[in-house]
């Protein structure tokens, strides 16, 4: 079963601007932990964001959880997005809110406006938040403000927030590149363990080829908006890497 199928995906940010994605095809199977690697500016973040239409695709077809993403109205789109957990390079937390509220905000897609207004999340959501906060090791920081945490801790909040959605797919946009190497490895471990445990497939942008090889079962290589490589991690050769990163070598 494919959770996500993308065919001939094209994106430009403005009508006259350059085409950032020039027709990308791939699919994510329901047990994939898929890495997207490629040089800076290749369009990795754009690709991830096009999947749940944080960036509007300009061509091609995206089928996510059986739905044609590009044909959804705003309401349906929100319904789809709440099934997709997203973890960001720079954590994207609400700095002035507490850790707990940040984690609870993962439930907003399931919460009505009145409850949102008073931040009155159901007790079951609170229990779930407590569980995931414990799972990512933040039980001692529940009432701190998000901007009082270290980088690694913030990303753990981001992970807990994404898990709150009970996601059926995880989209990770360089979840570790703002962290130092040791913390990066810990965070990747955490994400992969949870993904395996919850049986959630993941699509993960990653700068560091080493990390990709270590944690992911499949790798897609991109360069300048075009897919250059797609295959199991073991099949990635140095020659492929050279091709993917050709621009950087030159």
């Amino acid at each position: 079963m494919n959770v996500l199928e993308v065919s001939d995906l094209k994106v430009r940010y403005s009508a006259k601007g350059p085409e950032i994605l020039k027709g990308i095809d791939f699919e994510v199977k329901d047990d994939d932990f898929l890495a997207i690697i490629g040089p800076s500016g290749a369009g990795k973040s754009t690709l991830i964001r096009a999947v749940n239409r944080l960036v509007e695709p300009t061509g091609g077809r995206i089928t996510l959880l059986g739905e044609d993403v590009r044909n959804l109205n705003p309401r349906q789109l929100r319904g789809l997005r709440r099934n997709v957990g997203m973890i960001f390079q720079e954590f994207n937390l609400i700095n002035r809110m507490s850790v707990m509220d940040n984690v609870l905000s993962g439930r907003l897609g399931y919460t009505g406006n009145l409850r949102s207004l008073f931040r009155a999340f159901p007790q079951s959501d609170v229990n779930q938040a407590l569980y995931y906060l414990d799972r990512v090791g933040l039980s001692d920081h529940i009432n701190k403000r998000a901007d009082e945490l270290s980088g690694g801790q913030r990303q753990r909040v981001g992970i807990a927030r994404a898990l709150m959605q009970r996601p059926k797919l995880l989209l990770l946009d360089e979840p570790t590149s703002a962290l130092d190497p040791k913390i990066s490895r810990e965070v990747m471990h955490l994400i992969r363990d949870i993904a395996l445990e919850l049986k959630v497939p993941a699509l993960c942008n990653i700068h560091d080829v080493q990390l990709a090889k270590e944690f992911c079962n499949r790798i897609i290589g991109m360069q300048d908006g075009i897919k250059k490589f797609d295959g199991a991690t073991e099949t990635l050769r140095d020659a492929d890497l050279e091709e993917i990163y050709a621009m950087e070598v030159l």
């Binding site: 749940n52 997203m86 960001f88 700095n95 002035r96 919460t111």
Partner: protein, 273 residues
């Protein structure tokens, strides 16, 4: 001494430059003085009846009339002082409510329509500030009659411009990342604003509101001059009955109120930050 051996041509060039700069400055100041003179002759000289003012002694005598205090007025001061304070508070809060939609329309990154509603929002901001509070009060007195209500409305309208302008600027300068996160979890428009935008802007907005509240106490004190209640009305009455000691009492009350407002806003600002 070798160090004094300067080229005479350089010296004269220096002197020349300096002379030219002096001439330029002189001309500018001459122009300014002529302009001021023209203004003086057009307004003060043409419009003043010096004999009626009555010379230095006349002026001093007129000022002297204010240097007494009509202590007997004290009981009558309390209620208008309270009214003035309350008008400022209610007017500021109402102004905040009016500012919300205006800021929403007038912030380029969240406005629902860039071509129609955005210019309307911007125009409302300018309109609110370009009409003096006295004129707003006149408009509302004629619309809803005498009393505190027109004063409150006038203060609210006058506050909208500044509060919404700063709020819109704060919205335009927010960090887009939390907003993206809320959109990604499937949040709707309201949730995006309430969770993504509001936490980022509220310290700025609150500081602005406190600042505006402080100014609104001043404004509130003169609303009565055109029939909108508070200390202004008492001031007007004392002035009309030539009770100069009473006028001084009212001014003293205004000063006290303003000092109080200044102190409160100082502490509030600290609490916000």
């Amino acid at each position: 001494m070798a160090s004094l051996d300067v080229n005479p041509a350089a010296i004269s060039l220096q002197a020349d430059l300096r002379r030219r700069r002096f001439t330029k400055m002189g001309l500018i100041w001459l122009a300014v003085l002529l302009f001021i003179g023209w203004c003086v002759s057009g307004t003060i000289i043409a419009d003043t009846d010096w004999s009626r003012i009555g010379g230095r002694s006349g002026v001093l005598a007129s000022i002297g009339r204010y240097l007494t205090l009509d202590i007997g007025l004290f009981p009558e001061l309390i209620i208008p002082t309270l009214e003035t304070f309350m008008m400022a508070c209610v007017g500021t809060v109402l102004g905040c409510f009016f500012s919300l939609p205006v800021a929403w329309l007038g912030a380029a990154n969240v406005t629902p329509s860039k071509t129609i509603l955005y210019p309307i929002g911007r125009f409302l901001m300018v309109l609110s500030r370009s009409v003096h509070e006295i004129v707003w009060a006149l408009i509302f007195v004629s619309a809803v009659g005498l009393g505190a209500l027109p004063g409150i409305l006038a203060i609210a309208m006058r506050s909208v411009g500044f509060i919404s302008k700063i709020t819109a600027e704060a919205i335009e300068n927010i960090d887009a990342k939390p907003v993206e996160a809320i959109r990604a979890v499937g949040g709707n428009q309201f949730q995006v604003m309430y969770y993504g935008i509001l936490p980022q802007i509220y310290p700025v907005v609150l500081a602005t509101v406190i600042f505006e509240w402080d100014i609104n106490i001043r404004r509130s004190a003169v609303m009565g001059l055109v029939g909108a209640g508070g200390l202004g009305l008492l001031f007007f009455r004392q002035m009309n009955s030539f009770n100069y000691g009473g006028v001084s009492m009212v001014i003293l009350a205004i000063l006290l109120l303003i000092v109080l407002g200044e102190v409160i806003s100082h502490y509030l600002r600290k609490a916000v930050i």
